[in-house]
């Protein structure tokens, strides 16, 4: 992990209405090889913050610095160039339904680089293989399961070796075993390629498995931040409630739950 943040923002306000920001005074810094999870209840602004950090939603105030450049101050072309070094895993995968899995994964390499077709094809197969879904290359997204689609979408996000991957609810709608598999893949890309990950989630088990740092959102601001242990022991009522919901007590640690 290097000290220089890949992504940094300070006192950012984000939302869709200048008079009613969803979040304000948000400061975040993410370094290479670090997994930051953004946690919060429904409507707390997790996805809004992720869209702001990933260049999809202009902040109402403040700056988002990606690779040292202000993401929203640079021109369209420069922003596209900056975002080329970041991948995005959408909550509903956003795979192109009329293409095969292989064509989906190849797409960024084909469109954004001049790489030869055989290399792009082999690169896509390699990324699929790294995520354990190489045998699905010829299928269409509607012919594979939700967990497989997540892994294919992650392969597409990783094809250009990004330094940073944004993940919007990477384990939502998945069974615990598949959710753990996705988490393992996120840990794999962090450990093998030193890729930084910013993951929005409401899955506490997932946070415990993968997070190096946690950011908890509540009431339009950051309610807590730090390591999992630090945040888990926060005295803030909302943060405490997130980590200590009844179902979290339903089973003692390690019992009835699949551990990473």
């Amino acid at each position: 992990m290097t000290d220089e943040p890949i992504l940094m923002c300070r006192d950012v306000a984000c939302g869709y209405d200048r008079d009613r920001p969803v979040l304000s005074s948000v400061s975040v810094a993410v370094r290479s090889g670090e997994i930051l999870t953004i946690l919060g209840g429904s409507g707390s602004g997790k996805s809004t913050l992720l869209r702001t950090l990933s260049g999809l939603l202009r902040p109402l105030a403040g700056k988002v610095m990606l690779f040292g450049s202000d993401l929203y101050a640079v021109g369209h072309r420069q922003r596209a160039e900056l975002l080329r070094h970041a991948g995005m895993l959408f909550q509903r995968e956003a795979l192109f339904g009329s293409w095969t899995v292989l064509q989906n994964v190849m797409f960024p390499a084909r469109e954004l680089t001049d790489v030869l077709e055989p290399i792009a094809r082999e690169l896509a197969r390699t990324k699929l293989a790294q995520l354990g879904v190489a045998d699905l290359a010829a299928r269409h997204p509607d012919q594979i399961s939700g967990g497989q689609r997540k892994r294919v979408a992650l392969a597409r996000a990783l094809i250009l070796d990004p330094a940073l991957v944004f993940c919007d609810e990477p384990t939502s709608g998945l069974d615990p075993v598949t959710a753990q598999l996705i988490d393992e893949k996120l840990l794999f890309i962090r450990d093998a390629f030193q890729i930084a990950v910013i993951a929005v989630t409401h899955d506490i088990a997932s946070v415990r498995r993968i997070a190096d740092r946690v950011l908890v959102l509540a009431h339009g601001e950051i309610a807590a931040s730090g390591s999992v242990a630090e945040v888990e022991n926060s005295m803030d009522g909302d943060v405490y409630a997130l980590f200590h919901r009844p179902e979290e007590h339903a089973h003692p640690p390690g019992e009835g739950r699949i551990e990473a």
Binding site: F96, G97, S98, L102, A109, T113, D114, V115, L116, P118, I119, E122, L123, R125, T126, K127, L128, A129, Q130, A134, D135, A137, A138, H140, P141, D142, Q143, I159, L160, D161, A192, F193
Partner: protein, 368 residues
Amino acid sequence: MRTLVEHENGYARLRLAGDLRIAESSALYENLLALSQDPSTARVELDLSGVESIDSAGAVTLRLGKELLARSGKALSFSNLSEAQWRVLQSVAAAELRGARAEPAPSALERIGERAIRAQTNAQEFAAVLARALRGAGGWLLGKESKHTGALIEQAVLMGANAVPIVTLLGALIGVVLAFQAAYQLRQFGAQLFMAEVVSIGMVREFGAVITAVILSGRSGAAMAAELGTMSINEELDALRSMGIDPVSYLVPPRLLAMSLITPLLSMWATAAGIAGGVAIAGGLGVPPIAVYHRMTDSLVPSDFVLGFIKSLLFGWIIALIGCYMGLRTRGGAHNVGHNTTRAVVVSILLIVISDSLVTTVWTVTHD
């Protein structure tokens, strides 16, 4: 990336310097491809001592190059690999690619067999939808579904009332075109007045129903296919099934009955618009409009209207059934909605033209 190639007695040494990333990988691939085709080269060594960084695309290119040379019976070795470079190469190692190759394409015979099976399945599915839709429509007509009358009215307004302006415009323009073409041909015999028969009989027996059906298949048929297709991929049809409601019996009858109601009405309206267009243009062609009008009323007999009505009813059923069937059989994602919507329009228009030919032939043989 800079590449220095040294050749010596069938041995080629490539010294690479700089970055080996996606932008540089194509040049390296072409170099290795050329060496694999060069008969004087038996062995290749890649010296990576000057390489500062390798990304996945670079590593994949090295692996592809090794495979290329191996296929030509040549060996590729790497020298001066750093620990970091070795790790990147390991991450794309061929051993991980089990099952990654594309499945072989089916043979021509297999494709023919698959199509035959698919055609049979489609025919069975359509027959099942048709049977359930007719049974459901029968229930509606017998008043068993009176609580859903609102749905029928909604569909009729959506498909019928909103289509009146476009049907009027196209009907009138068809009447104008018919009048022009007929008058132009008949003028050679001094019989322009007979354009009245061409317009009136043509519109009543043929064009009123056909032009309305073509508009409705592009407008309402496509809308039905897209709506039901979207419902299908959003699992709304499964939601109905889970509640014990048959989606076909619930969704198709109101659309079928609405089309049965509005297609004849719109066809009559299009016919009237076409005749009005023909009469209006007659003055410009040197034929008194009042004389044209009288010839029209004299030439038309009740069976002309019956034929037009039968056709419009039949076309309405085709549009509704094909639109609903294509929507109900949609699976997968958004692209299938678009695909099936297009198919609904194409198949509907095809069947409209085929059935029009058949009905006209049978009617002409039996009645005229």
